[in-house]
């Protein structure tokens, strides 16, 4: 008789164990589908259900408890033609709950067989997420405190398009497994049976007991019409093929200018969320890179990006930048008080040759640096424009970039309305006096 079981490794389950019935039902299903050993991988995890893969002559992947669905997904995405069968126990569903929900939501074409025997057999019969509260287990009274999980109801709620429940004794089990494997999407079969070694001794588990318990739950026989949808792998391949490839010139900035300075410069843009500090810092950086300068840009902002301080540190250098920290800035552009607070220590260290461009409404500590206070509002410059306006004023000094370099960076980086507004802002800053 045809089989995909390994004749050298006969099943080694306890007498009467439900897993052995499952093993043979799965083998019959695979044979019925006409699959050969190389077409199938059995992915298992920990516990007695994790022995399943060792009895098959197919590909096999045995991993960590509850994580089988993750390995299986990696395999299926890499090898779409392969039939990926995942066997887990009720324990694996419990510990791998996030993966179970994700697999249901994702709908990759995997077939999950849950060998549900209501306890952790291998470790001594402790309760699992499916143990009935009135059962007697090695966990004392603990399982009585928890509500057992209806695996099928959860699977259906999470979006699995094929969900079925059966006992190991039901005649049509191999046909059900065959249907599950043939189903073009994620399929879950919750298969109930006794753990004769640990559980059934203290908890009656005749076939009719199982049938009776199962009858108390909603019936699941396969396809869930409401969850039917395209399979993930096929969808992924269809959509990913439409993405345009990134060219080798992405992020490349052509050298169009001669450098405006021949020494290292450190510039800090300090403000608050909403000032577009990082965007303005990036334009400054791009301006310098277009002159062949080496540049680093380190950004710092509050975790909730729409509130709190925002700081961008830019180092411009004729040679590759060594230390990326700013210790003695040549310019600080301060446009909001949050940024001033963040850079207070550096403001105190400024050399007299350094330059500060600050919004007029800010309170600054006493500094010896060359300070330009700007009334942004009087020039119709909005909060969101302040940082770029400050960069434009710095560029008018010709150090570390020129206005032409900034204009070119804007033209290269921005499009549409943003481009128009930024060029317009640049023009408006030209009327601001640079006299302190």
């Amino acid at each position: 008789m045809a089989t995909l079981l390994d004749p050298r490794r006969p099943p080694a389950f306890c007498p009467g164990c439900a897993h052995e019935r499952c093993l043979h039902a799965l083998d019959r299903a695979l044979v019925q589908l006409g699959l050969s050993a190389g077409d199938v991988v059995v992915v298992s995890d920990i516990g007695c259900s994790g022995l399943m893969d060792t009895f098959f002559a197919t590909h096999a992947f045995h991993g960590l408890h509850g994580r089988a669905l993750t390995y299986a997904a990696g395999i299926k995405l890499a090898r779409p033609h392969l039939h990926v069968i995942v066997t887990m126990g009720d324990g694996g569903v419990g510990i791998g709950g996030a993966h179970f929900l994700e697999a249901c939501r994702r709908n990759l074409n995997l077939s999950l067989l849950i060998l549900n025997n209501f306890n952790f057999g291998m470790t001594g019969g402790q309760f699992s997420c499916t143990t009935p509260p009135d059962a007697s287990t090695a966990s004392g009274f603990l399982q009585g405190l928890e509500k057992p999980l209806d695996i099928c109801a959860v699977a259906a709620a999470a979006g699995a398009p094929f969900v079925a429940r059966s006992t190991v004794y039901q005649r049509g089990l191999s046909q059900l497994l065959s249907d599950a494997i043939a189903f073009p999407g994620f399929s879950v079969v919750d298969i109930w049976g006794p753990c004769t070694g640990r559980y059934a001794k203290r908890n009656p588990m005749r076939p009719e007991d199982l049938e009776e318990k199962m009858a108390q739950l909603p019936t699941f026989r396969g396809p869930i019409p409401g969850n039917r949808r395209p399979e993930y792998g096929g969808q992924y391949r269809a959509l990913s093929g439409k993405k345009p490839p990134m060219g080798p010139t992405q992020f490349c900035i052509e050298t169009d200018f001669f450098p405006a300075v021949d020494d290292r410069r450190e510039v800090i843009l300090a403000g608050a969320a909403g000032n577009r500090i990082i965007s303005a810092g990036t334009l400054l950086a791009h301006g310098a890179v277009a002159a062949g300068m080496h540049v680093t840009q380190k950004n710092d902002h509050h975790i909730t990006v729409m509130k709190g301080p925002s700081v961008s540190e830019i180092i411009i250098s004729p040679v590759p930048v060594g230390f990326t920290g700013v210790e003695c800035p040549d310019a600080i552009l301060a446009v909001a008080q949050e940024g001033v607070l963040r850079t207070e220590a550096l403001l105190g260290k400024l050399l007299p040759t350094a330059r500060i461009i600050a919004a007029r409404d800010l309170s600054l500590p006493p500094v010896s640096a060359h300070t330009l206070k700007v009334d942004f509002s009087a020039h119709g410059i909005r909060r969101s424009e302040r940082a770029l306006a400050a960069v434009a004023l710095l560029a008018r000094t010709g150090d570390p970039i020129t206005v032409e370099m900034l204009r070119a960076a804007i033209a290269r980086t921005l499009q549409g309305k943003a481009l128009e507004e930024s060029l317009n802002l640049l023009a408006r800053t030209e009327t601001i006096s640079l006299a302190p």
């Binding site: 490794r9 050993a37 190389g38 991988v41 060792t54 002559a57 197919t58 590909h59 096999a60 992947f61 045995h62 991993g63 960590l64 994580r67 993750t70 390995y71 299986a72 997904a73 990696g74 395999i75 299926k76 995405l77 890499a78 090898r79 392969l82 996030a98 993966h99 929900l101 994700e102 990913s240 093929g241 993405k243 345009p244 490839p245 990134m246 992020f251 490349c252 900035i253 052509e254 050298t255 990036t282 950086a285 890179v289 300068m293 080496h294 540049v295 680093t296 840009q297 380190k298 950004n299 710092d300 902002h301 975790i303 590759p320 930048v321 060594g322 230390f323 990326t324 920290g325 210790e327």
Partner: protein, 376 residues
Amino acid sequence: MGLWFMEGNHAMALGAVHAGCRFFAAYPITPASSLLSSMLQLLPPAGGIVVQAEDEIASIGYCLGASMSGMKVMTATSGPGISLYSENISFAIAGEIPIVIVNVMRQGPSTGAATLGADGDIQFMRWGSSGGLPVIVLAPTDIRDCFALTVHAFNLAERFRCPVFLASNKEIGTTRETVDLNALPKPEVVWRTLHTSGTFLPFAVKEGRDVPEFLPIGGPIPVRQTSSTHGPDGFITNSPREIQAGVERLKRKIESQVESFAFHDFHAVPRARTLLVTYGVTSRAARVALGKLHCTDARPVSLLVLKTLWPVPEQVLLEASRTVDRVLVVEMNLGQYVDEVRRVLCGKRVDFYGRMDGRLITPGEIVEELCRGDSA
């Protein structure tokens, strides 16, 4: 002619694609998230796969499945995610599954400061898996290393069939920097050795070899992978002899070869009596510090920048420190790799300087520390 301006994380993504990586799975975490964005830009158009996982356990799990199916895989996270990777890292070691793991380190412990840098996971990457067997850890110093060491990391993962870490840092991963991609050295790309003839046993090694030949799950010949302690056939073994031979091989295959991948920069200064040892972003401050020092009449100092951290390149350390009588190790933590340096340079004076307050260690601090030692 021009320069590229990008984050270190993006340069790693480019290095991965150059190395042949076509599968990437990750869970978003600061400061590694932009690697996920970069891979999402780069891989799908190249026919590759990017998965945003439900958690970090899953992201490395997806990678292990895809790697055993024959793909080159990478995942990226930060310290909190490495904690969740731990059990699967042990699996990758035991199952000899090639994988590159990027750790963009952030200030810890625990959730820590997500947006501040540190090098606090240096011992964790080495020892954060059950069984204590070796892994490879490479540490980039700048954007150029982000590209080149990523290619090396894939090559080593393929050559040794093991997990290889890239010990990045928020200060490298999310700092934008200029680089000339055309001028970057592009290491030759290595692929795992495939089994071509004879009976296939998934964990058998040929005479004189320590790394088993590979066949993918999904090919015509059935392949077994298992996290359980196994013999050459991939089935559980209880034979103490077979078990011991297996774990010794896993240790030997990496540790005996470290000199062949001991990446480092050694700036030997004549008559130096002090050796400065550092790695990662701190090495940039160290270079500047030495420049400052050489402008003064202070005593000369040599600099060793380690880019292979694990296994410890002991010969490199011994050779670089041969003629000095003081070693100063500087790290962005409270003292981790210094323990390895002390172990290797047993008996030599080894001082430490470090901080883990989220700020870069400055050249000035290093100069001060070097001078302090001179007067001690």
